[in-house]
Symmetry: C2
Subunit: 434 residues, 2 copies
């Protein structure tokens, strides 16, 4: 079952779909050549928004969760990709340690961990789950729905290695985005592979670096296809050191928002698009408390000056960060897909260089210009029974869900190439040859 797509099926995006399908051999070759020079993230997921006239990734996760939202039918692809990934990194691997988030009571999250364990076990590894939560002092087995379970075990650190009691892994897979900072226990591991690397964690990583890399990738890809890179790239700007609680730097933020809205308006005019431009404002360091704020007019920002004067309460999920924060102002991309009448955006899952699955994130109570990654979202897997992510040559643009998903897979992989560039550019251990 592939979700019913109600995207506006005319206009430039279908030209893009047709262009992408026609260029498939050139595109796949381009990716192959990229991966000769760059290392793909071990795994990643990408949130994609399809405005009908524009298609772009809006968030790229290097510690993807939600693997349990993929159908069982997608498992073999994930397993095959995991085998390819392991073979490259450490063919001699026997043991893999998965380090999850410290949400030991969230069974939805733990079902994701169980799925990851299953994928890597099926790829032929001994897999165990090591918690860095100080509350886990002895092995704790947690039963999950559908008869599954996860056993969280306390990690044990020696001078050079991290493991469990009687379990010495050669590779450590982080499913913990380290937004609270890098724990010392993960540092200075000289004889083990730690994936993703520590500088992918949200205490170090910056969205602005990723957006900068993605802009570069979209320009090169646009050249390959002969298209305006704007069709796949959301414009952005960075407003550094804004203290929303104190109202400091609000003028800089406002002028960035104003300038970006003007640029988007100009682009909409160029393409004859009758939509109201908007931008989203979010923290550069991916911090959760602030959330993602949709700004349709500079006046929307006045709430912060009122809040800083104690005249407006913060809404849940959009608390005002304390102290100066670096913010990102990003061109908003509408999502014009609907699944069962709910606003939907596709999420593409990748392992090594391969697209292994995807689903629609659906939120019935949000509008097409709002963030859907909020409590209340549901997930509709892109089922595999129709080979949903392989292109169907000859099908009419817009009419074929498989072709649509091939296009999403291309955009997801562009975000993955950008993440690879980003990780290289921000690697603290990188040697400089200049």
């Amino acid at each position: 079952m592939v979700p019913h797509l109600v995207t506006a099926l005319t206009g430039p995006i279908n030209e893009l779909e047709q262009r992408i399908l026609d260029s498939m051999p050139a595109i796949e070759r381009w990716f192959r050549l990229e991966w000769m020079e760059h290392t793909p993230p071990f795994y990643s997921s990408s949130d994609i928004r399809n405005a009908g006239f524009k298609l772009a990734p809006v968030d790229t996760n290097l510690f993807p969760r939600g693997w349990n939202n993929l159908t069982d039918d997608m498992l073999p692809l994930a397993v095959q990709a995991a085998q390819a990934a392991i073979e490259k990194i450490c063919p001699e691997a026997r043991n893999l340690l998965v380090i999850p988030e410290n949400h030991s009571k969230n069974t939805f999250y733990l079902a994701n961990v169980a799925r990851l364990v299953r994928i890597f076990h099926m790829a032929g590894l001994n897999v165990r789950v090591g918690s860095i939560d100080p509350a886990i002092k002895s092995p704790k087995k947690i039963e999950l729905p559908h008869g599954e379970s996860v056993c969280l075990e306390p990690v044990v650190r020696s001078r050079r290695r991290l493991g469990l009691k009687h379990f010495d892994p050669c590779t450590i897979l982080l499913n913990n985005d380290l937004s609270a900072g890098t724990p010392g226990i993960l540092e200075d591991l000289h004889e083990q592979y730690l994936l993703p690397p520590l500088h992918a964690g949200w205490s170090v990583r910056r969205k602005s670096n990723h957006l900068h890399s993605y802009e570069e990738v979209s320009k090169r890809f646009g050249k390959l296809l002969g298209i305006d890179p704007w069709l796949i790239n959301p414009m952005h700007a960075r407003a550094g050191g804004v203290d929303l609680a104190e109202g400091k730097g609000l003028d800089v933020l406002t002028s960035h928002v104003d300038a970006l809205l003007t640029k988007v308006r100009r682009k909409y005019k160029e393409y004859g698009i009758n939509e109201k431009p908007f931008v989203v404002v979010k923290a550069d360091n991916g911090a959760d408390p602030m959330g993602v704020m949709t700004v349709r007019d500079v006046k929307d920002l006045e709430i912060f000056s009122r809040r800083s004067r104690g005249k407006a309460p913060a809404s849940p999920g959009q608390e005002t960060p304390q102290g100066p924060t670096d913010l990102i102002v990003q061109e908003g991309v509408l999502t014009n897909e609907r699944v069962n009448n709910g606003v939907a955006e596709p999420v593409v899952y990748m392992m090594d260089r391969y697209v292994v699955g995807g689903f629609y994130r659906v939120h019935a109570e949000r509008s097409p210009d709002e963030n859907l990654n909020m409590a209340g979202a549901s997930f509709v897997p892109l089922a595999f029974s129709e080979s949903a992510h392989l292109p169907q040559p000859g099908a009419k643009p817009g009419a074929s869900a498989p072709n649509r998903f091939y296009m999403y897979g291309v955009i997801g992989r562009l975000a993955m190439v950008a993440a690879s560039y980003e990780m290289e550019a921000t690697n603290p251990d990188a040697e400089t040859y200049e």
Copy 2:
């Protein structure tokens, strides 16, 4: 839908299944290390027979046909494996030329070619089909059932390269086993990848080399698992220069058959197996006219001395080869699987190092000790909707079709490792470092 399995579900084979499942991480690691040292065949398929007490590959095809017998659901795995294969061989690849058999009227075979074209097109290549059949003098489009079609084009040879008019491939994929000899048009290609290599063709390849390599592989694998390699290895002997038409060398053949039947009888006794031993006799060079002859008693060979004296007619599919032929005497392996009451044997398909699918070859009119690869066979795909080739940890031995198929995938891959050794040992261009 996974075919109903009626294999005798007790006895040593289930111990083997359990041993294989328990050793999964060690097995996968073993394969990874093998592929560090050796190159897997580009693609291959392996016929496997499951006697209940013994499980072995009986034929390994380096020019696999029948890709159209895999379900559509297996396509994504094949495409992903094809991408991995291309990336290793020629990441810069744009164009792939497929060279099929010269059966331009066999729509079953051409449906296989169409499937291969589809797989490699989806992997991102421009794919065309170049016929070496002298009868194909201009492009010929052949319509197939289900709205598919294949276009056969005449190949064009230049001094160093082979291609089509206005189509210069970097890689040439043979789906033609060259049993009639290597055409000069394929020789001395110095700037193109030709896969599989010419010495994989049946005018050069010898089954005895493969069986010798497989014996070595099964010994090493037996050691890894702590099992008698006989459980996965059919014993064999080679009888050179037998002229069945003239009755020459029949004494050598008879003594080999007798000796092998005795050896099998001894093994059956060791394991308490109440079955009648048999051997199969086939041409070392894979020649079709002779077929595969089941010999249950040395007396069965008398037909050849009667035939050579003109006293017995040859049966269809078992014509007597003219002139001296090298023969293989191989331990017969019963197949005790049934699908819809027909005798069945699993066939495993591999691309690069990955198992990408499989089906049961079923023949209602053959018995469990006879070759099933004959006219009248039908094919029941192992469907993907149940992730049929991934193991299900915890399921009872013998009770789980997915676990059963994981085991078949392991045996298929052992045959693939053996083919890799075989190709190395018989490579005429190999450099010797001794």
